[in-house]
């Protein structure tokens, strides 16, 4: 450390408060509801290397600190005071933006003619063109379908706005006024940051502030490593799945090997499934980046809440990507739903850390954050694109405490919308917005229950619904140490009516007035044997409706009669309960069935062979292999995997045959 500890503490405080000022300025002046109601935006101060060195404590998520800003900055070399860089394109910005609605602005901050840092801000725009309102569709397979792409370029040159670019943007978004107003809000905020940063430099001197950039990153790196040292040295394997990739009916596996040595963590993604022909790919461009590291960010900030948040968090973290995998998207493949696969990597890190040190980790979070969009035609013929509600799963149980019910901060901590506003502003009526009973994984400590929502369309013209993030429809949020898995997600149109049908994940569906949509979110995994749960806790759960009386009896062995525990009947029921199987994790029936055909070593073998093929052929061959092993998958059936795989040995035989035929082990690629 170069600066004295008092000056460094004071500068650190000032810089962090300064980023909050930039953050509040965006929040206060932006026009879109994404910013004002749900806070899907962020800001930061970057050092001269283009790394985050101060980040706002008020932000609704923090993992964006692990972002590569350098490529975008270097792409615009002739920066002058007042210039502002804009980009939303993942590929030319080096992964700064990870899908097209995220529009990023960077302003270089000058002092006496040289750049002494940068201000950065991004907003998730309501719409940036493309094939669906909101610009995110699971079915897109090329980024060209997803919207208007802006490589890093100047939005403002000195005092002058780039009007030509703005006129292009105006033509290419469904909500031009709000979008442009948001850009102006971001520019105003970055300029506020510029002035405040100038004040700090004036107060402490430019050399001191530049030294503080270095010292603060070092300081954070040391503290972050102290937290990561709580994970004992070792090698930990874990894997988890997306239920399917929309264009095939095959679960997509994320494979992690976590290697820990003295607070340094390697996330090895070797063996993860190949890129998809849909929008689930992550444009990491082979680098460590926030969608890969974000679970570790959360672990560090949970156990060291006051740590100055900057790029130093990641000094001890490295990633070995699987080239060609879903985590290594390359142009021109689609990336709109790039957060889905990372959410499963999040669960993999959770599972790996649980194996290493169960005291610092929960069972699986519900693992699904559904964004329910509704688009309708307004009386003046304009389209209104709005998120109805962001829906939350329950959180995983901890050893010693139940998981949190009906809330979940795993990916972000955005607010919901008041139902009264939903009904006032949209052609919808909310019939239910409540907890989802029995969705929490049973256990000595129960997983939190998810939320549920039912809406009815009331507008004359109906509208389009689109729900992204509907994960955990097959592969349940797992429990630990005897705890059970949480419930699966479900999303149904016209539940209980003759035309009842599932909502396809991530794709728009046109509905008419009177139709209903019902969503039930997963709960978190439980911890410990549910037969050991305190009967009084079960009674409370039943009384409050988190657990049904039937589940209390069947899963917890607790008999409730007249609203109270029947102690004798409970003791008797529990004494006859079957011995628990001695598995560390309970993954749910569908995953067990799937892995009876595709266990880890088989999947690693399949992928080794697939990755030996040219990139363009992998998708088709992979599809053929899985469909050959399980022909019923081919028809797109959603019947549960444990029913679909009625005879695992037969399926394994078909798989072996298909592998020999399509991917012989030693054939030249």
């Amino acid at each position: 450390m170069q600066l004295d500890p008092v000056t460094l503490e004071i500068i650190s405080r000032k810089l962090i408060a300064l980023t909050d000022e930039i953050y509040f300025t965006v929040q206060r002046t932006a026009r879109s509801s994404y910013v004002n109601e749900v806070a899907d935006f962020a800001v930061a101060l970057l050092d001269t290397n283009g790394d985050v060195f101060a980040y706002p404590p008020s932000a609704s998520f923090n993992f964006l600190i692990d972002t590569n800003f350098k490529t975008a900055i270097e792409a615009v070399p002739d920066l002058e005071p007042g210039d502002v860089i804009i980009t939303n394109d993942p590929y030319t910005s080096g992964g700064l933006s990870t899908h097209l609605p995220d529009v990023h602005l960077i302003q270089p901050y000058f002092h006496e003619g040289r750049i002494v840092g940068y201000g950065w801000s991004f907003i998730h725009s309501l719409d940036f063109g493309g094939n669906v309102p909101g610009s995110v569709s699971a079915a897109s397979h090329e980024i060209f379908q997803e919207g208007f792409r802006i490589p890093p370029m100047k939005l403002r040159k000195g005092d002058a706005l780039n009007e030509e670019l703005l006129s292009l943007i105006r033509l290419n978004t469904r909500v031009p006024d709000v979008t442009i107003a948001d850009f102006k809000a971001m520019m105003g905020a970055l300029e506020t940051g510029n002035r405040r940063y100038g004040d700090v430099i004036e107060r402490f001197g430019v050399d001191t502030v530049l030294q503080a950039q270095v010292d603060l990153l070092n300081y954070t790196a040391a503290r972050a490593r102290d937290v990561l040292r709580r994970i004992p040295d070792g090698v930990y394997d874990f894997w988890d799945y997306l239920d399917d990739d929309v264009v095939t009916n095959i679960p997509l596996r994320v494979r992690l090997r976590m290697e820990v040595k003295d607070g340094q963590v390697l996330l090895d993604l070797t063996g993860t499934d190949p890129e998809t022909q849909s929008a689930f790919n992550v444009p990491s461009l082979g680098r460590r980046m926030y969608w890969l590291s974000f679970r570790l960010t959360g672990i560090i900030t949970t156990f060291d809440p006051d740590i100055p948040r900057n790029a130093g968090l990641y000094r001890g973290i490295s990633v070995r990507n699987q080239p060609g995998s879903v985590f290594d998207a390359r142009p021109p493949i689609a990336v709109g739903l790039r957060h889905s696969a990372p959410y499963r990597l999040f669960d993999c890190v959770t599972g790996a850390v649980l194996q290493a040190n169960p005291e610092i980790m929960s069972a699986a979070m519900g693992g699904s954050m559904a964004t329910f969009r509704f688009t309708e035609k307004m009386p003046d013929d304009t389209l209104r694109v709005e998120v109805v509600e962001p829906l939350r799963s329950g959180m995983g149980a901890l050893d010693g405490r139940d998981g949190v019910d009906a809330r979940d901060n795993s990916i972000n901590n955005m607010r919901n919308r008041p139902l009264e506003l939903v009904e006032m502003e949209q052609g919808l009526r909310v019939l239910r917005y409540d907890i989802n009973p029995d969705s929490g994984g049973a256990g000595k400590y129960r997983g939190g229950v998810g939320q549920s929502l039912t809406v009815e369309l009331t507008g004359e013209n109906g509208g389009d619904i689109q729900i992204s993030g509907l994960e955990r429809s097959r592969m349940a949020p797992w429990g630990y140490a005897g705890g059970k898995s949480g419930a699966l997600v479900s999303a149904v149109i016209n539940e209980g009516r003759p035309d009842e049908r599932p909502v396809p994940k991530g794709m728009p569906v046109r509905l008419k007035r009177g139709d209903t949509v019902t969503l039930r979110m997963p709960g978190g995994g439980g911890i410990g044997n549910p037969m050991e749960r305190d009967p009084a806790a079960v009674e409370t759960d039943v009384r409050r409706g988190f657990v049904s009386a039937e589940a209390a009896r069947a899963v917890y062995g607790v008999v409730i009669s007249d609203g109270a525990v029947d102690a004798d009947a409970t003791a008797q029921l529990r004494s006859t309960a079957q011995e628990q199987a001695d598995e560390l994790f309970s993954f749910g029936t569908q995953r067990l069935a799937w892995e009876s055909v595709f266990p880890d070593e088989v999947m690693l073998d399949i992928n080794r062979r697939l990755y030996a093929l040219p990139r363009a052929r992998r998708h088709d061959v992979r599809k053929e292999i899985f469909y050959s092993a399980l022909p019923a998958l081919r028809e797109g059936t959603k019947i549960p995997l444990d029913q679909l795989i009625s005879d695992p040995s037969e399926a394994r035989a078909r798989l072996a045959e298909a592998l020999d035929r399509l991917l012989p082990a030693h054939a030249p690629a």
Binding site: T302, R407, R415, E423, M424, V430
Partner: protein
């Protein structure tokens, strides 16, 4: 009701704090203001009132019949909410909405911590019951109230032995009929149980926020009622017949009757009163843009005064819950006198967030404290005098404080003779930086800059730290009022009767809007008029403020626009649109001339003016008094000599340069080198950056 203001000439303000209950007595004949502190009794704050009042009267040499008015601030409701000691509640909601308190606004307390739990619901879900009665957003009744259902609800609540029931139905803020019917039906079926409608307590849209206001009102009401009864009883037993008023969240005061009915309006009033007193200083001095800083033992609170009025917010927090009532915006900004000074394992100096609390308190109190605090730093740096602290009531142990801070200094790798003093000064600087940066953050919510404000300091430690904070925040002026340590009690007797009303009707600004808005305002004003008629006959002047919450079509948030006094002219659509554009421009830096403007809510604030309080002016133009001592203060890495003045010696009009120390019984004021102090005619110290001026 009272002996009237004519015969009785004294007003008494009482503010209950964690450690002390503060009293001030204002003598209307002389303008003199007396102060008194009595140790608080946390279990029954009215006991400290009963003990302190006779002593205050004796000190002032007045009789009980000379008291015209008692204004009291209490944190009982706040504490009961935070500690969850309210009554057992039942709640009625619309069908499908039983999860309202579980989901709340769907947020966890922190985005960055997956271990920290969320708040426990105020009413457990088994006592949240549904009715099928339902209105649509436009008022259409989709389903009427069903008697059999109410029978069942009443039966369930009775069986669960709930003590109060709150009814919160969808869209009741605009269409309250169903809610009213359910309340009436339940009252019939559950005599003796208090049943409340959310639309009566606070009819604002957003069901969760409205529910919380109504629930907290019911939750704290029985406790508050019995406290108010005790207080009333104890005060009458002293022979005092003056009316008792209770301080309110919005900086106003309420009659005891209203406070009994609406304890929610008093729940955050504690820190608000000091800001009211600050607004009075702003009006007297003409320094009308103030940041107020109240530094107590464990925390520092800030608030804003604009144009001599306390700034309101509708985004306050009470414990785990949001409070959208208009309240004086008070924000905690970190360190207090008891904040612990420590060095982290990577060698950085930290102040707080832990506090040594009231007990054992700072090391120098000699009550077993082992961790150095900011107060210890003041002492070691020479800002406090070991013998004269709090007028000599506590003898401070300098040696003990010095020894621990020396250890801190060593860990910071300080060298030389003054390691303890260096550590003390460093910690004081860090604390000032924490307060200054937190102030800047808060101002950023409004797009403001601290340099456009003056800093007014109160509380026990506020005046000691104020100049350092102002220096750090690049502010130019510090104001230290005459009675900084009993400022909240003073604010209580300076306040007017004040209450807010809201209606949430969506009205598009158009040719028809003026008539509609007039109709709504007439109704709100009518309610306000009826209410204030019962708040005391001596209110000298009743005024009504009209406020609209407005937005552009498609915008995700509202802006509150205060209407000019000529309401009819203001409601003209062209005038209203122009006013909104101008306000939007001022607040957010741009306007959207093309967009339609929509009114989302209508508010009325009624103010009943208390007869003006006589405030004494100092004689002025006196000589600079002789310092009572010289003290060595460690500042900027070395000892400097500073004269020590006794504040009681100032007669107004004097000026002197820093470094200097001013002592008064309950606080110490530190004036930095390069700053200068003037004593004005109201007894305020005005400390300004730069050399001492000749004239005040």
């Amino acid at each position: 009701m009272s002996t009237g203001f004519e015969q009785a000439y004294c007003r008494v303000g009482i503010d209950v704090g964690g450690t002390f209950t503060d009293f001030v007595l204002a003598d209307q004949r002389t303008g003199a203001i007396l102060r008194f502190k009595e140790p608080s009794v946390p279990d029954d704050p009215s006991l400290s009132v009963e003990r302190g009042l006779p002593q205050l009267l004796a000190l002032a040499n007045v009789e009980p019949r000379d008291i015209a008015l008692i204004v009291h601030g209490t944190t009982i409701g706040l504490n009961a909410t935070i500690q969850r000691r309210g009554v057992k509640l039942g709640m009625v909601v619309s069908k499908g909405n039983r999860g309202i308190l579980e989901i709340a606004r769907s947020q966890m307390p922190s985005a960055f911590d997956f271990i920290a739990p969320r708040e426990e619901a105020l009413v457990p879900r088994d006592l949240v019951l549904e009715v099928s009665a339902r209105a649509a957003h436009d008022g259409t009744i989709l389903s009427p109230v069903c008697d059999a259902e109410l029978d069942q609800l009443a039966e369930s609540f009775r069986a669960a032995e709930v003590e109060a029931v709150t009814v919160v139905l969808m869209h009741s803020f605009a269409h309250p009929q169903l809610e009213a019917e359910v309340v009436a039906g339940l009252r019939q079926r559950m005599p003796g149980i208090s049943i409340a409608a959310s639309s009566i307590v606070w009819p604002e849209k957003r069901e969760y926020e409205r529910a919380i206001i109504a629930l907290l009102n019911s939750y704290t009401q029985p406790l508050m009622e019995s406290y108010f009864d005790r207080l009333d009883h104890r005060i009458s037993n002293l022979g005092i017949t003056a009316p008792i008023y209770i301080t309110a969240n919005n900086g106003g005061i309420l009659s005891l009757e209203t406070a009994r009915e609406r304890p929610i309006d008093t729940i955050l009033s504690g820190p608000a009163s000091g800001v009211v007193a600050a607004a009075n200083v702003a009006a007297l001095t003409g320094i009308d843009q103030l940041i107020t800083v109240d530094v107590g033992g464990t925390s520092a609170d800030m608030a804003l005064v604009h144009g001599s009025h306390p700034a309101n917010t509708t985004r306050a927090q009470i414990g785990d819950f949001p409070l959208v009532l208009p309240v004086i915006g008070v924000t905690a900004i970190g360190a207090g006198g008891g904040s612990v000074v420590w060095v982290d394992k990577h060698g950085l100096l930290k102040v707080g967030p832990q506090s040594a609390g009231a007990y054992p308190g700072p090391i120098c109190y000699g009550r077993g404290g082992t961790e150095p605090t900011i107060t210890d730093c003041y002492l070691v740096a020479g800002l406090l005098d070991a013998e004269r602290f709090l007028g000599g009531r506590i003898n401070l142990d300098l040696g003990l404080a010095r020894k621990t801070l020396e250890e801190i200094g060593r860990r910071l790798k300080f060298t030389g003779d003054n390691v303890a003093e260096q550590a003390a000064e460093a910690a004081i600087r860090v604390a000032a930086a924490v307060m200054a940066t937190e102030m800047g953050r808060e101002l950023a919510h409004r797009g403001d800059d601290a340099r456009d404000y003056s800093l007014l300091a109160f509380g026990g430690a506020g005046p000691t730290h104020a100049n350092l904070v102002a220096d750090e925040a690049m502010m130019g002026t510090v104001v230290v009022p005459g009675l900084p340590a009993t400022f909240c009690a003073l604010g209580a007797i300076l306040a007017d009767v004040k209450r807010d009303y809201v209606a949430s009707n969506q009205v598009e600004v158009s040719d028809q809007s003026a008539a509609r808005l007039t109709e709504i305002f007439t109704e709100l004003t009518g309610k306000a008029r009826d209410w204030i008629a019962g708040e005391g006959e001596f209110l000298s002047e009743i005024t009504y403020e009209h406020i609209l919450d407005m937005r552009y079509r498609g915008q995700g948030f509202d802006l509150q626009v205060k209407l000019p006094e000529d309401l009819q002219a203001a409601l003209d659509p062209a005038a209203l649109t122009a006013l909104f554009h101008a306000c939007h421009d001022e607040n957010y830096g741009y306007r959207d001339g093309e967009s339609d403007v929509i009114v989302m809510a209508q508010r009325v604030r009624v103010v009943g003016k208390m007869p003006a309080l006589t405030q004494a002016r100092l004689a002025g133009e006196g000589e600079l008094p002789t310092p009572i001592a010289q003290r060595r203060v460690f500042h900027d890495g070395r000892f400097i000599d500073a004269p020590v003045f006794d504040r009681a010696d100032f007669t107004g009009g004097q000026s002197f340069a820093g470094p200097a120390i001013v002592e008064q019984g309950d606080t110490t004021i530190w004036i930095l080198p390069q700053w200068a102090c003037t004593v004005d005619h109201w007894g305020n110290l005005l400390i300004r950056r730069g050399e001492a001026s000749v004239s005040p």
